[in-house]
Amino acid sequence: MSDTQFDVNKYIRAQFFPQMWCPGCGHGTVMGALLRAIHDLGLENDDVSVVSGIGCSSRISGYLDFNTAHTMHGRALPTATGIKLANPNLKVIVPFGDGDSTAIGGNHFIHACRRNIDITAIVMNNRIYGMTGGQYSPMSGRGVKASTAPYGVPDESFDLVELAKGAGASFVARTTVYHAKEAQNTIKKAIEHKGFSVVEILSMCPTQFGRKNKAGEAPQMMEWYKDNTVPMGSKKLADNPDLIQRGVFVDDNERLEYCTAYQELVIDKVMKKG
């Protein structure tokens, strides 16, 4: 744990600031929460690898002074899996978007959960493809207006928490960019957890999602997260079951982590046999 003052300059590649995200974008808040969590844990920059995919959120890797890979659309997790297996000492963190993680990378996502490899996946969920111009994602939800859904999205959304739980992730949490301190602490716990951890952070895209859906500007969109989410198990759910729950839904330290499993169940076993 770190007892020094948080200095953002220790963690960023300042030459690329200001970053390319739109005014009001929630991703900067996620980045701030991630860096504070890394600071809180006292991790050295050399010991962290940040691997992202493609999209607005995935540009995060270029801004951060770690071992960073900006990979292919949807392929952040399998690339991160290779990095982690090759060097299990690295803290591997995968911040990426809702489209990256649940659409084109959906298969990789469920298998990373199943394998329980020690990677921290942070899904920056703004419910839209921002970079390509506001097309709907698997997280948009029925009725949402998008550039490819001018009459409203006809299909159902994933519940990312349920998806991760069902696929076997051993740490599953949800928070929002309104709850920045909570996000920081949740990411901290997720990084500390030995196993595959998923943190869904409800973020916002005023430019592509807000405008088309009359959700207002960034402050209104943040307010919406304040008003429409509650801590896990809140009594308010009895009156309004549509409220979105925040919190740590799974924190299972019993499940065997993949790198450890490969070492113990394969390498050690083979070596013993000689």
Binding site: R13, F16, N45, D46, D47, S49, V51, I54, S61, G62, D65, F66, N67, T68, A69, H70, T71, M72, G74, R75, L77, P78, T79, A80, T81, G82, I83, K84, L85, A86, N87, N89, L90, N107, H108, H111, Y262, V266, I267, V270, M271
Partner: protein, 383 residues
């Protein structure tokens, strides 16, 4: 010490070559007829402290191999048919990020599912052009299992030397054939290790800066240099840079670093070529039948037929093929596809009209009789 002589299938020759070259990591997905490579390495790698992982699909396997290579491990995957198509995205990323890796593509009948259990050479052009955008790549073949071993070792060497993906274009026939293979002692064949930077940690490291030796020394994720890789057009530091000057330089580098070394990268074998009036140009399994056809013509008719076997298909050895075919009355290109390398041969020889084509695309191995039929047509004499 007694020689290490084995009687093994082609998949094992490939595995032995990979281990000899120091392969430490394999990620793959089951697909016929390449699965034996994954099976063998799942057994052998952990014995040496290496790692094997079966991923959820071909795309993930390719990405995983790239990740392991970025973290410093010599890495490979193996695939066939549709799997090779799926890997192209990652191969393009490896080209762009100059990440060394080896992809064994055990060719089978296509397109689509085609015929998983039979032989073809239909992926030759895909190996060259499968990934979108301008790039160059190295692709190798072999016609016997000793060479499968050797080319696999060399594939790793070339991947490290040129910081590029290298494709091993094997096929179903060489993969399932069994032959004697002599496994050389360590040191008998040179093994090139990862070329790492000597820039001290803490000093500015440029992952894409060419040094005085023409190399771009690498660092590993976690080694302290904290560099960035991206599939975007990037500068010498690895950061996105889409300025026209930078992009122009980058694309020229990605192509020139391989194409300008075509003669150095070239691997080929010549059989009966010294006095050949007719030259059969071939690669992979096809070479075996070409040799038989050449020998039959020489022994029974006294017609001087030679064979030029290309072991590196890409980059195409323009000058070497032109020179070797210069004195031939006719050149026959033999391959198990509808005509892929024949286009290259016609492009480079002095008289394209003297280039003939002998092929087969019915899932059957090309036979000496197929090539002899072409020779009969050209020479007017048959055996």
């Amino acid at each position: 010490m007694a020689e290490n002589i084995q009687f093994i299938p082609g998949s094992d020759a490939c595995i032995e070559g990979a281990l000899y070259a120091g392969c430490e990591f394999f990620a793959g997905y089951p697909i016929t007829p390449s699965s034996e490579v994954a099976e063998g390495l799942s057994k052998e790698l952990p014995k040496r402290g290496g790692k094997f992982i079966q991923m959820e699909d071909e795309i993930a396997s390719m990405a995983c191999v790239i990740g392991a290579s970025l973290a410093g491990k010599k890495s490979m995957t193996a695939t066939s048919g549709p799997g090779f198509s799926l890997k192209q995205e990652g191969i393009g990323y490896a080209c762009m990020t100059e990440t060394p890796c080896v992809i064994a593509n055990v060719q089978r009948g296509g397109p689509s599912t085609g015929n998983p259990t039979h032989v073809a050479q239909g992926d030759t052009m895909q190996a060259r052009w499968g990934a979108h955008g301008d790039h160059s790549i190295i692709a190798m073949t072999a016609s016997n299992l000793q060479d499968v071993f050797k080319m696999t070792v060399e594939a790793f060497n070339l991947a490290e030397t040129y910081r590029t993906p290298v494709v091993l274009m094997f096929d179903e026939a060489t993969q399932h054939l069994r032959e004697k293979v002599v496994i050389p002692e360590p040191g008998e064949i040179e093994v090139i290790d990862r070329i790492r930077t000597d820039i001290p940690v803490g000093e500015q490291y440029y992952p894409y800066l060419t040094d005085a030796n023409g190399q771009r020394p690498m660092s590993d994720f976690g080694a302290g240099h904290r560099f960035h890789v991206t599939g975007l057009h990037h500068n010498l530091l690895g950061f996105p840079d889409v300025s026209p000057e930078n992009v122009n330089e980058l694309i020229h580098h990605l192509v020139d670093k391989i194409d300008s070394k075509a003669n150095e990268i070239a691997r080929y074998k010549e059989y009966y070529m010294d006095d050949a009036d007719y030259v059969i140009v071939c690669y992979g399994t096809t070479t075996r039948s070409a040799l038989q056809a050449a020998e039959d013509y020489r022994n029974q008719l006294g017609i001087k037929v030679g064979v030029l076997e290309l072991q590196v298909v890409w980059p195409f050895a323009d000058e070497i093929v032109r020179e070797k075919c210069a004195n031939a009355k006719a050149v026959i290109v033999s391959e198990m596809n509808m005509g892929q390398i024949v286009r290259e041969v016609r492009r480079v020889v002095d008289q394209p009209e003297k280039v003939y084509f002998s092929n087969r695309v019915d899932n059957q191995i090309i036979k000496p009789a197929d090539i002899k039929a072409a020779l009969r047509m050209i020479t007017g004499k048959g055996v």
